[in-house]
Symmetry: C2
Subunit: 153 residues, 2 copies
């Protein structure tokens, strides 16, 4: 203990929020690069298409909730996707404020191309971990995700 007392210095490289952020950014940027180079899609645009692949006909608001992407970003990304005819939009009959979004045929084609690529990438990543570690990671992310929201300070 010739050094500083142990909470007077912060070692960034051992600090969980920092390490998570570096790891997540690295992974995201690899994925983002592929989407951008091969399909000219941003992560945001892809995530919108991804939820539409799962939940056809949902509204922009529901997309925003499912993707956790702010609604103004959704709005602008949806505009772009509409311009490129990758998605389609109609107005709900019961509620004229509400839009109903879905993948166009072209959108479905791209979706069908990206999904296996994405899953393969995830698999490659997970293959560096043992089966057990994969489950642990799953569990740990769930726990942290559940509680992080309530944390203050």
């Amino acid at each position: 203990m010739s050094e500083q007392s142990k909470d007077s210095v912060l070692q960034l490289e051992n600090y969980l929020p920092y390490r998570l952020s570096i790891l997540s950014n690295k992974i995201s940027s690899i994925v983002a690069d592929v989407y951008k180079v091969k399909f000219a899609l941003s992560i945001t645009e892809w995530r919108i298409m991804a939820v539409l692949g799962e939940y056809d006909g949902i509204s922009a608001d529901e997309v925003s909730i499912k993707t956790q992407i702010e609604k103004s970003l959704i709005s602008r990304a949806v505009s772009k996707l509409l311009k490129r005819h990758l998605i389609e939009r109609s107005i709900s009959d019961e509620d004229k404020r509400r839009s109903e979004l879905s993948l166009s045929e072209m959108g479905q084609d791209i979706y069908a191309e990206i999904v296996p690529l994405s899953l393969m990438f995830e698999r490659k990543l997970l293959d560096y971990l043992s089966e057990e570690q994969q489950h642990q990671l799953d569990e740990i992310i769930d726990v942290l995700q559940e509680h992080a929201s309530k944390l203050r300070l």
Copy 2:
């Protein structure tokens, strides 16, 4: 198996890159909020101060490497910190391109305030996990971090 074959649909909420990104963003934004409200510092600014607290006198370039923050962002953040007199800069004698950065007294005071706060936040987060899970997480992040760089596709 009445549904689609298992890699024709991607469930975002189970997709590792997505889950990591959501978790990391949530954690970062809580931390960022505290830094911003209490000290008017962005995450980038704080990270620069954090490495200067650990490594006094290093250059902007070394800060960039250690924080993984792009050098143009470092340059602009350093300018702000200099204006606020939270850090100091001198030119290296041996190499006049090189700057030597360090925390000012005021910077050290703020540093001394933030470090325990940050560590307490990390502790609170980790306390939701068992001792074992904490070690597992450590290990898993290391493994993924090590290999993620080399991944393609």
